[in-house]
Amino acid sequence: MQHPSFIETLQLGFKFARRELRSGLQGFWIFLTCLILGVGAIAIIGTLSVSIQRGMTEQGQPLLGADIEFSVIHRQLDKEQTGFIAKFGQTSTVATMRGIAIVETKAGEQTSERALVEVKAVDNLYPLYGQLTLKNPGTFQPRLGKEGNLWGAFAESSILARLKIKPGAIVSLGQARFIIHDIIAREPDRISDGLILGPRLMISHAALKATGLVKPGSLVRWHYRVKLADANADLEKIEKAAAQQFPDAGWRIRSRNAAAPGAKRFLSRLTLFLSLTGLTALVIGGAGIGNAVRSFLQRRKNNIATLKCLGASSRLILVTYLIEIMIVALLGIAIGLLLGAALPLIAMPWVQDLLPVPIAPAVEIMPLLQAAAFGFLVTIAFSLWPLSQAKDTPASELFRGNIAQKFKRPSAAFIVAILITIALIVALTLLAFPNRYITGWYLIAITLSFIVLIGLSRLIMWSAKRFSRSPRLMPKSAVSRLAIANLYRPGAPTPSIVLALGLGLSLFVTIALVDRNVSKELQSAVPAQAPSFFFLDIQNNQVKNFQAFTAAQKGVTKTGSAPMLRGRVQKLNGKPLKDFSIAPDIAWAFRGDRGITYSTDLPAGSKITAGKWWPKDYDGPPLVSFVDEIANGAGLKVGDTVTVNILGRSVTAKIASLRAVEWESLRINFVMVFSPGTLKGAPHTHLVTVTMDSGHEDELLATVSNKYKAVTAIRIKDALDAVNSLLGQLLLAIRAASSITMITGILVLAGALASGLTTRTYDAVVLKTFGATRTQLVYVFIYEYALLGLITAAFSILIGTLGAYAIIHFIMEMTWSFSPVTALLTALFAMALTIASGLATTWRALTAKPARILRAE
């Protein structure tokens, strides 16, 4: 007997698949929707992510405002350094600092309206690239000049709302008075300044000088921006030359290729979380796909049995139905990709308004390919098991009663194929998403969730069986008995519901708990003893008086002060930073300029964990105390050395001790605290904290800013609001992505119930024929769905809590607290959702006319 070749089998398979598909896509709608949602979500998020990254790269010049920028803090560059920079092209200087703007009347009297502003002083060449957009367009530089005793200024609209003023109003900043000529609609280089706490106030350099705010040690950052004469000049070569010629310049050099690294990191992390949420939607959808394939093959069992009886080989059956499934999958993936390519383009104008970075809208091939690959792999992974059953089940068994096939393990070849597909999904996930650490943990978490939920569904079915067979445990009411029995009957949708609802809910709980913990942390991060204000830029000779003055104000309970300088770490143990592999979570401490201080005594809220604090009268070579977790992350220990560039001078200090710090107390603390000797002589300012009763804060701000015009006040509440608002946007985006996951979960749940609708309708009719009332059947269904929803919710809360704990504790390093209200609400939501979806899907079974069904059988 001759067997058909593989090619012949394939040809035959195509022929049969085409014939079967002629009857339409009935029964494939859930399959298609799951695939469209999952693939679409990954494609949309991926396209947006690539568009943003490309936008940031292509728009590097306007984002940075230059081809290359040299910036220093506290001081301006010397002539030799500016001369070196000027060689490369046109140079523009920008200065940024914080200040307190106070509204004045036309007569020059100060009002009580005042606010923290981010001052940006620009010259005539600003911006070298891009365009500053004002509400009333026109040449802007002349309008920043001085007219009478008023300097011109532009402000962001938020400052006007905050100070309750309109363009034309007068504000004072330090010793200078300004008239606000216009509103800034778009500042091209805003994102390169990182997180800014207050609204922008743009002035001229001359005006900045007139404010009197620039003093030795003031927190002013001077940016020297270059528009290269030779556009193709090698930026890396310039950076190297700068480092070689001025090794102690202490400048931060940024090029157009990495204009806003902070924003890029933030967005990359955000899109990673969003992509993983999208992938979860696809994996949950996978359960729906598997279900749809199983019930599709169940409906086709007579066809399969007939084909087998007529001589179709198992291989032909497998090829036919695999082709059919893949054709439908192709359709779903194509629609998902179409959405992924088109929606970002359509939504670009709105997204652009929400994001502070430019987006380069285009059809991005790579994310679409990735989404398609995920779609195909997930479809194959979830279809192989039911396909193996159709292939391996004998025709005689397929012809027998309507009962669902018993659990059958696929053959070894199928298990290997399933494992290979899963391995490919894992490999693709690790390759497609940037952060291996988070992605790896995500994969472990989702695999464990899968195993736990599959185990749970088996446990529910086993327990329900034991429960209803035990005369002792069996419930008295027939309704409860039937409901429990429905959980374990052959073909019961329990595994699909538990898996789909469980994965969706687990993610939901994780996000809800992370959301609550972060919000709580930010709110409770202002404990009673925490200061209400940080006052910056207090000069050496002012600090004592300032502290005494603030201490005497109404409501003030405590003040504290610390010297404050800015410095950047250059070397560790004499070797440049690039030679060290620093843990990503603490890399911020070694990136750019950081606040540093010196102190005779161990700062409050710190505890020595290694080494010793220096004696009060210590006068030897520089010593430094490091925060232990930062030192550990960089592999530093007591006795090692650290070289820090402070005001253009390199200071090498030996690590004398490591400290554990309670950052949450918001008391003054620094990563690096130096011994006083070396730094005391350097020009620097002081930081003063004021702890007070709420209610007198506005009064204090008014009194202090009247008397000390050059001092900058940061209200903790305002700073936290700024962080909160940023975090709020992040959580909103993640919540939006997770809602796709939840919708997929509901779809899979509905699909699982819908696939058993014919059976349920039949059962309901027979039960009604033998005396069950519709009310009783409604109760049976409600009990069944409520039980499933409740048990699944309980485990989802457990999985979600573990997930949220891992994120809060290990990734965000925050204090963890469990929220029973969130858990309870989730459980109730899950129960309501399961009952509602269950009844909505199966209502037809309850209302079916018995006679028609009984006749049809």
Binding site: T759, G771, L854, E857
Partner: protein
């Protein structure tokens, strides 16, 4: 109180079909005394099954009156009809109509459970024992032969103590030998319990075993 356990007067049933309304029963009158075995014969499509459905309250009528066990079925709503069937009627179908996902024992226990019988499973076990299936309690319908499935259906119809058994061609899906055994079982149980049996059949020899035979033709009883 009527002396008839079943009383139909001028019952008409019209069903909507694709090609328009079809008159299935066109004015049926029927009286059946308690304990009677009534054979209902007639050609396919004559309305025999519809007549049984009407008697069970599973098919609504367009006009006429139906009294079964002192219940005017036209006055009962869906839930009351279900309760009526639970308390008074047992049905045996040609295609058994067992619930595939329930074991034999669970299938038989269903009407007892809905009746609130405290020892539903015990009584269901006894009923299965009476039909000779005490060794098949935990088997699912797909694991039973056709004859065994029909015996489960008979046990289910009898288990809750129904006074009326409606049997719609109970041997139609069985071979003759098994069919004979099923019919013997049905009649034996009917006699033992004194129930009223309405047996729809094509088989004249089977009909002859009944106390009385009526023929349904073109929606009328002759």
């Amino acid at each position: 109180m009527s002396s008839s356990i079943i009383s139909l007067s001028d019952v008409k049933v019209t069903l909507e079909a694709g090609a328009g309304p079809v008159e299935i029963l066109r004015g049926v009158d029927l009286d059946v005394k308690p304990g009677t075995a009534l054979g209902i014969v007639g050609p396919s499509g004559s309305g025999k099954t519809t007549l049984l459905m009407v008697l069970a309250g599973l098919e609504a009528i367009n006009s006429g009156t139906i009294n079964v066990s002192d219940h005017n079925l036209t006055k009962l709503n869906e839930n009351q009809l279900a309760a009526f069937r639970r308390d008074h009627i047992g049905i045996v179908f040609q295609s058994f109509h067992l619930i595939p996902a329930m074991t034999a024992l669970e299938n038989v226990a269903v009407p007892l459970e809905f009746k609130g019988t405290p020892d539903a499973y015990k009584q269901a076990t006894q009923a299965l024992d009476r039909v000779g299936l005490s060794h098949r309690l935990d088997h699912y319908p797909s694991q039973l032969s056709g004859g065994e499935q029909q015996r489960v259906a008979i046990a289910r119809a009898m288990a809750a103590g129904a006074r009326i058994i409606l049997a719609d061609e109970p041997t139609g899906n069985l071979d003759s030998e098994t069919g004979d055994k099923i019919i013997d079982l049905l009649f034996d149980m009917q006699r033992e319990t004194g129930t009223t049996l309405l047996l729809v059949t094509h088989d004249p020899s089977l009909a002859k075993k009944c106390d009385r035979v009526c023929e349904v033709r073109d929606g009328l009883i002759s």
